[in-house]
């Protein structure tokens, strides 16, 4: 006869309520672990999926994810000349927050180096990759933009031609892929008045220097587009991504780039490490701290409940001792109840999580190793929380039955 389950049947309401409470707490603990895994996955998603072997970024920076990096777009061409390099692409990425259909729309504008990269590598759930050099975009489903949706950014209108699922930037905002030139013009879109003011400023600068006075034609140039002025730097991009030829020695190629003083080279793994060590680290510690606190709280709550359940039975426990029951029977009664509350709470947490976690605004990733370690923790807190009750039960004298 199992005394623990008989008692539970008798005190079902209280037991059920306790289990639900513990279950909810454990769900939050589980969810926090999942949010942490989600952070990591979202942070590293783009770096892993985009298929670059090496990243060339502004010298002495740790860009383009962990901090801002600016390199000239023509670094692409220099990189292609290095032996072992199969291709080089510009990496343009920036987060914008605009208004669309009266609601704020926050997205990561991600450039694809048209024409070699049309986004064929992007896993689509609907639609197609880019087919033209301008005014098309592939959007993540989380942005809520349907296929065929027209999106006005800056002076131009872009059409959503493809949809992805779960492609988000390190901040959790959905990715939107454009060609690099579109991405740059979205980023550097300047209102007409701004353009007029800039041209005036150029003209004033040229007039102030001897070359402007000697070559009046230059003053005409100041009114043209920036690309028509050789004295202005080429457009800047965040980074250049390099893919290696099959069989090329990555270390060798990286060593070559490392000798270029104007840039810094990182492997994909180094980029991932930079992301995790920097951006994710504080969030990870914060979540970890919360998890520890919640586990401690769960233990205390469970210990109190097991203790009061034991106090309620203390007279019966004294009677069992009086009848000669071994300690094992009494410890078993308390421990089994604690384990049952822990196990049922854990099961409830898992079950509730399957409904709740997908509705969280950011990705929650529940991985088997995390589930197993939480199960071990729950086992631990069940045992720990029963100690107080067990101690109380062990210390009661059988003649307590008489009082």
């Amino acid at each position: 006869m199992n005394l623990a389950t008989k008692d539970i049947r008798h005190n079902f309401g209280r037991f059920a309520l306790t289990t639900v409470g513990i279950g909810l707490l454990l769900m939050i603990v589980m969810g926090m672990g999942g949010i942490y895994r989600g952070l990591i996955r979202e942070a590293t998603l783009l770096v892993e999926k985009i298929g670059a072997d090496l990243w060339l970024v502004q010298g002495s920076t740790r860009g383009p994810f962990a901090e801002i990096s600016r390199v000239p777009a023509n670094l692409e061409d220099r990189a292609r000349a290095v032996p072992g390099v199969a291709g080089a692409r510009r990496f343009v990425s920036h987060t914008i927050q605009r208004e669309h259909r009266g609601r704020p729309l926050r997205m990561v504008v991600q450039g694809l180096s048209w024409p070699e990269d049309r986004g064929a590598w992007i896993p689509l759930v609907a639609g197609r990759p880019l087919r033209q050099a301008h005014f098309e975009t592939i959007a993540d489903r989380s942005l809520g933009l349907p296929l065929g949706e027209k999106l006005k950014l800056g002076k131009d209108v872009y059409e959503v031609v493809g949809l992805t699922k779960g492609m988000v930037g390190s901040g959790g905002d959905g990715l939107c892929f454009f060609t690099v030139s579109d991405a740059v013009s979205i980023q550097f879109d300047v209102p007409g008045e701004g353009v007029r003011l800039e041209r005036q400023a150029r003209r004033a600068r040229a007039e102030g220097q001897d070359i402007g006075r000697l070559q009046p034609l230059l003053l005409e140039r100041a009114a043209g587009p920036a690309s028509g002025i050789p004295a202005l730097a080429p457009p800047q991009v965040s980074a250049v991504m390099v893919t290696l030829q099959p069989g090329a020695d990555a270390a060798q190629v990286a060593a070559t780039f490392a000798t270029w003083p104007d840039i810094k080279v990182y492997s994909t793994q180094q980029q991932i490490n930079l992301l995790l060590a920097g951006m994710v680290d504080k969030a990870r510690r914060q979540l970890g701290l919360f998890r520890v606190l919640l586990i401690i709280i769960s233990t205390i709550i469970m210990a109190l409940i097991i203790y009061t359940l034991t106090l309620d039975k203390i007279h019966d426990i004294a009677m069992l001792k009086l009848m000669g029951a071994r300690n094992g029977i009494i410890v078993g009664l308390i421990l089994q109840q604690a384990l049952l509350i822990g196990a049922l709470g854990y099961g409830l947490a898992y079950w509730l999580g399957t409904f709740a976690f997908p509705k969280f605004p950011r990705l929650v990733v529940i991985e088997t190793p995390d589930l197993l370690s939480l199960a071990a923790i729950v086992l631990g807190i069940s045992v720990l929380s029963s100690l107080l009750g067990i101690w109380k039960a062990m210390s009661v004298e059988p003649n307590k039955v008489l009082s």
């Binding site: 006869m1 049947r9 001792k321 009848m323 000669g324 071994r326 029977i329 008489l402």
Partner: protein, 241 residues
Amino acid sequence: MTNAAADTTPAIEAFNLTKVYGSGNTEVVAMKDVSLTVARGEVVALLGPSGAGKSTLLTAIGLINPPTAGRIVIGGQPVMEADHALVDLRAFRRQHLGFIFQKSNLIPFLSAVENVQVALEINDVLPRPARSRAMELLDYLGVADRANNLPDALSGGQQQRVAVARALANEPSLILADEPTAALDSERGRQVMELFRKVAHERGAAVMVVTHDHRSLDVFDRHFEMEDGRLKNGTERNIEQ
């Protein structure tokens, strides 16, 4: 069932039991120099005014309230020397003693039959035989029809009979009862007392009952009287002339 009654070793031998509660100002001498012997198959009453030390003596012999001084021998085996246990008390209680109190002290989350069954399982009887033995006992005590009710659903008398069944479960050689009939009407009380007598005589168990109920004294083979912690009538006075 057992031929223990034929054995001449006494069921209980107590030598110079003394119990002092507290110390200094609050010191109470609850039992002073009590010696007695109870034979197997004998049913004895323990009488005396409130505070005389009856419960103190009964629980000392029951090995749940160690005396301050003295010696207890049960079934020929020395078990207590002052407050020092000579055997594993819990195991000894499990195998040899049965208790009944004024309150039935049934475990509230177990049904009547389970309350009896648990006493058997504690003594390493397997669940199935324990169950059928428990049913037999309830039947013997006339409460088999309420076997599956929780104690709450039983009347005081029925609860007490289940408690008696539980005390008898492991066929103890010594049954100790402290005012077992106080909560019962006189007819039910008498039935329980007669049951003790039946058990003692049929099974050779010794039964010691603390009681205030003078109407059923004729059931007992002998009675002891206590006053101020002392045994008034020394050893024996047969009331069954």
